[in-house]
Symmetry: C2
DNA sequence: AACTAACATCGTAATATTGCGATAAGTATG
DNA sequence: CATACTTATCGCAATATTACGATGTTAGTT
């Protein structure tokens, strides 16, 4: 099939899986790390930083935007991306509670 | 293409992405949650618990085993799965350090 | 308005994932 | 050893993901 049967899982299970999935790519991890360090959010520099084509970076940014973990603000003719602290903390909390079950 | 260019990323970025990917499916989240609560690890019950076919569950278990986060011990004619505390804590630590960059 | 720079989106090829029926493999039990 | 039971693997169909060239779009510049 290839299609995840999300109907049979709880909303929370689906939500956690979706968030994890959005982060589950080395390019997106790299983007997150970069945005974290370069306090002043970046944009097209990511194309140079990572060795991926511009449309590819744009697509990865879109996926991170979809879960709300990053946001882009217009800045001249370029767009400045940065981590949305609020969402970032929520995601962290969600993961923590998953990991808290055991240990 | 469809193939991730893992050569261009650091080992750590690839590792984190791989771990996240292994957890990034509602069925696997459900399995982890179940294994966490049922201290006495379970196995084929997962087929009934979640509404997925046995081969599908088996495949998900395999993916979780691949990253070492769960392990299976023979128990009679069935196999008893449980979370590998050691690996579980390592993964938690890895995620924590990712989330620690910001916030 | 035409031009340019910076992103986004479209379309598509290559590959990966999800799910399951069929079947194999392993292990008690009679 | 034959049987039953439990899990793993194979093979395939359906769908999703990754990457990028080509092309749109938007916003400053001249």
């Amino acid at each position: 099939m290839g299609i995840t049967k999300s109907e049979i899982f709880t909303d929370r299970q689906n939500k956690i899986a979706t968030m994890l999935k959005a982060l589950a790519h080395p390019a997106r991890i790299a983007i997150i790390q970069h945005l974290s360090r370069a306090e002043h959010c970046i944009c097209g520099d990511l194309v140079e930083e990572l060795g991926l084509a511009q449309p590819t970076i744009s697509q990865h940014l879109k996926e991170l935007k979809n879960i709300g973990i990053i946001k882009g603000c217009a800045d001249g003719k370029s767009i400045s991306y940065c981590i949305d602290e609020k969402v970032w903390k929520q995601v962290k909390k969600e993961f923590d509670s998953l990991f808290a079950v055991k240990s």
